[in-house]
Symmetry: C2
Subunit: 103 residues, 2 copies
C-alpha cells in the first residue's frame, strides 16, 4: 500500500467530515433542497454563525450548491451536488460504526 500517495486526499476528506455538524448538515440535505431556516429547524443546536461557516465550507468543497431564485422575497436553497450525494456510503459507514461502538 502506498501510504504517502493516498494521504493528502484522504486527510482532506477526513478533516472536512470531522468538523462538527458537517455530517448532520449533509444528512439533512440528503432529504432534498433546503433553505437555511429549514436546516436550522432540523439542527436547532447549531448557531447561525457556525451554520453559515459550515455551508460556506461545503460550498467551497463543491459538496453543496447554493441556488438563488429571484423571487420576491428572494429564495435561496441549498442542494447536494453529485460529489455531496456520493458521501452517502461514507456517512452511513460512520453512522453504523458509531451506533455500535461509541458510548
Amino acid at each position: 500500500m502506498d501510504y504517502n500517495s493516498m494521504c493528502p486526499k484522504y486527510e482532506a476528506a477526513a478533516e472536512m467530515l470531522g468538523k462538527k455538524w458537517t455530517g448532520l448538515i449533509i444528512r439533512v440535505l440528503l432529504g432534498g433542497p433546503k433553505r437555511f431556516k429549514d436546516i436550522k429547524t432540523q439542527i436547532p443546536e447549531i448557531s447561525d454563525r457556525v451554520l453559515t461557516e459550515r455551508m460556506k465550507e461545503l460550498e467551497d468543497y463543491c459538496v453543496i450548491q447554493r441556488n438563488v431564485y429571484p423571487e420576491k422575497p428572494v429564495r435561496i436553497e441549498y442542494i447536494l451536488t453529485e460529489k455531496g450525494k456520493e458521501l452517502t456510503p461514507v456517512i452511513t459507514a460512520i453512522q453504523t460504526w458509531s451506533e455500535k461502538w461509541m458510548d
Copy 2:
C-alpha cells in the same frame, strides 16, 4: 430521521477520524501488529510527539491495544481491537470518495 439522537455518537466518531494521521495509523495497523518505530517508518512525516498523542487517543477510544511483552529489551506492540478492525469499511469509503473527488 431523528437527527438529535444520532448526533453525539456520530460526531464523536467523525471527530476522531478527522484528526490528522488517524486514518493512516489505522490503515498501517490493519497490516498486523506494529511497533512504534514500524509505524514511524511507514509514516515518516509524523513527529514522535504527534504519533504518541494519536496512539494514546486511539487507545483511550479502545480502537487500538498496546501490548507489552516482558522481553529484554521490552517489546511493545500496537494492534487494532475488534472496534478498530471494524473501522475498515469507514476508511475504505472515505478512501474511495476522496480518490474520486478530492483534488
